[in-house]
Subunit: 217 residues, 2 copies
DNA sequence: GCATGATACGAGTAATTGCTCGCATCCTCA
DNA sequence: TGAGGATGCGAGCAATTACTCGTATCATGC
């Protein structure tokens, strides 16, 4: 019943490493070119130029392949972001946010369809502690930046705020990729504005008595 | 090869309407409770209490069922939103946005997993003119609201701005639903702040000479 | 009530997909 | 160099899934 998402056996020789890479690369290409339904083990093995037997030697099933792709994508991302945060410790909030946004946009726009699909596949996979840890690191990193500039931000540096920021970035970038935007410049600027706007927007002051009559019958 | 997403035959008698509804309801429940992989035609028919033969009488395949679910969801949404915009013609921008956000949040949070899955399924379906039309109506509606309050918004009322707003709302609400948020109040407020912040955030003034040294080796 | 079309049924078939296993080949190291 | 482990192979079986079709039942108009 339950789905196994961990690799079955670690490759030790050089050629088996290549086999694994070929499998992962083929899975990625099929996902982005033909979609999730087309990404079955036979098709992956064939495009990889490898037999199904070899595939199953290293992965217990296609979910494990997807999971490995996600792990690589996410951990590459988080390491880039953490280096960025560490390397801009003295910089202004706007500069740091701009760089973080740029990294996120570039990552997601490099292979938009693949990134989008991996995101949605991730939601269907069983809980993976390694992935949860990476997710936490990203959220913590956002909170750290917010905490470094207390006077400039009106949102609390909570997990919720971090999740909101991450979600709006992902949402906007995914939509842009889907709509065919490929030049990162304009998108990056808009995402940056959105993030900054959310963090700086003051709580609205309720003018007493302003109640909207229900607009629907 | 290509996938047919239009219904095969319109039900004319009452009982066949019920059959169709049962099929659509069962498909929705399987999607939200067991995920996309489990939503095959046999399972849908069984849960609907209907034979596969009956299912295929009205839908050429499972994709057509999903497409119908999406069409209903989207067109229900767009009609609610359009009524809202029309009914608040004289109101302040903030009130109108708040109501729009509320409608979106409530819709998506009513059955978060289903809404999320339908969104990702939609991306894999072939182009459907009816769905593109609904999408356009939503974007136009956002642009109309922006145009109604020219002095209060710093973004152009373009398709891109509308897409950005829609994407950040969807992104935030999806993430919140996935994280287990069920109370709409707090989420609604944060999404509202994000939208307002994006629309009002001024373009940053570049202080000349502020260039960030590359933070990575 | 009966003729006709609409609706429902579900066993059964074709196609797809997941996965195994026995055997061939390659690599490493003593 | 040869023994043993690592790697690769792919035919083929089992399980799943999509879908059809002959038959039975129901609804409606006459």
């Amino acid at each position: 019943m339950s789905v196994q998402v961990n690799p079955r056996k670690r490759p030790v020789q050089g050629r088996s490493k290549e086999t694994c890479e070929a499998i992962l690369g083929a899975a990625a290409r099929i996902l982005e070119e033909r979609g999730l339904e087309a990404a079955n083990t036979n098709a992956i093995a064939e495009l990889a130029g490898v037999s199904v037997g070899s595939l199953y030697q290293y992965f217990p099933g296609k979910e494990a392949i997807f999971a490995e792709l996600i792990r690589r994508e996410e951990s590459g991302m988080v390491e880039r972001l953490e280096a960025l945060v560490a390397g801009t410790a003295g910089c202004a909030l706007e500069e740091r946010l701009r760089l973080l946004v740029r990294a996120g946009v570039e990552q997601q726009l490099a292979r938009p369809r693949l990134a989008r699909l991996l995101d949605s596949v991730e939601a269907t996979l069983p809980e993976d502690e390694a992935l949860r840890a990476v997710e936490r690191r990203i959220l913590d990193l956002i909170r750290r930046v917010l905490r470094d500039h207390p006077g400039e931000v009106r949102r609390r540096p909570s997990r919720t705020t971090a999740r909101d920021v991450l979600a709006m970035v992902k949402g906007m970038v995914d939509a842009a990729g889907f709509a065919g935007e490929t030049r990162p410049g304009s998108l990056e600027k808009r995402v940056f504005l959105a993030v900054l706007g959310y963090l700086r927007q003051p709580e609205p002051r309720w003018r007493a008595g302003v109640v909207v009559r229900e607009a629907l019958s």
